[in-house]
Structure formats: structure tokens, C-alpha cells
Point group: C2
């Protein structure tokens, strides 16, 4: 059970990821391929449905060619 505050944090993270992905002009599928994770997972993360792990954050940052810290700048 995720606490209310954390749910908001996870939602914000997803929104930020979505924005950064679009800024990079990538589709969810592109990002999924580049990060080598399932497309469905990218969707779930962006929608704030899952409390993703730091290793996934790492591969997403790599694929977006940005620093991990950028994904948390919101």
C-alpha cells in the first residue's frame, strides 16, 4: 500500500518522464526499445501505475540521453 504522498510522487515522476520522452521526440515504443524494457512497462510508469525501480530509472535516463537527476527534477 503506497501512501498518498508517495502516489503523488509516482504520478509526478510519470508525467515528467512522459514530458522528457516527448521532448526527445520518441514514442513509448522507441523509448522501450532503446531502454530495453517492455512497452507496457513504459506506459505503466508514465501513467503512475507502478512504483518503478532505480535500475529502470537508470536505463530510461540512458535511453533519453539525460542524467538520472533530470528525471527527478519536478
Amino acid at each position: 500500500m503506497i501512501k498518498t504522498k508517495n502516489k503523488k510522487f509516482i504520478k509526478s515522476f510519470g508525467k515528467n518522464l512522459s514530458a522528457l520522452r516527448k521532448k526527445a521526440e520518441l514514442t513509448q515504443e522507441d523509448l522501450a526499445n532503446d531502454a530495453d524494457i517492455p512497452l507496457s512497462q513504459v506506459g505503466r510508469i508514465e501513467r503512475g501505475e507502478v512504483n518503478t525501480t532505480i535500475s529502470t530509472v537508470y536505463v530510461l535516463a540512458k535511453a533519453l540521453d539525460i542524467k538520472v537527476t533530470e528525471l527527478f527534477r519536478f
Copy 2:
């Protein structure tokens, strides 16, 4: 199965957390209490044994009174 590169990332995260905790002059138990997570979990994260989630990173940052991005500055 965590990839080699990611294992290094997780290890680095743990080391950084440990350093920031000590800088805040907190024991693992203090941090666990403040972040409201099990003591055993703090240990596992610091040793790089687990690929922790962003919500745990969030509560750790809160407890340490630092920004989430600081935990990824390494």
C-alpha cells in the same frame, strides 16, 4: 537478473545513501525510523543488495532532509 551495469549503479546508490546518512549523523536505525521503513531494508539498500523503488528513495530523501536528486548525485 540485474545487468552488470545496473548492479554497479545500485551499488553506487547504496554507497551514496550510506555517506549521506553518516553526514546527517544518523544510524541506520534512525533513518529507518524517520523514513518509516524497516531497518533491514536500509541495510540492504546501502549494501546494494536490492534494486529499490522510487517511493523508497522519496521517503529516504525526506528523512535525510535532502532533495531526491542528491541521492543520485554520484
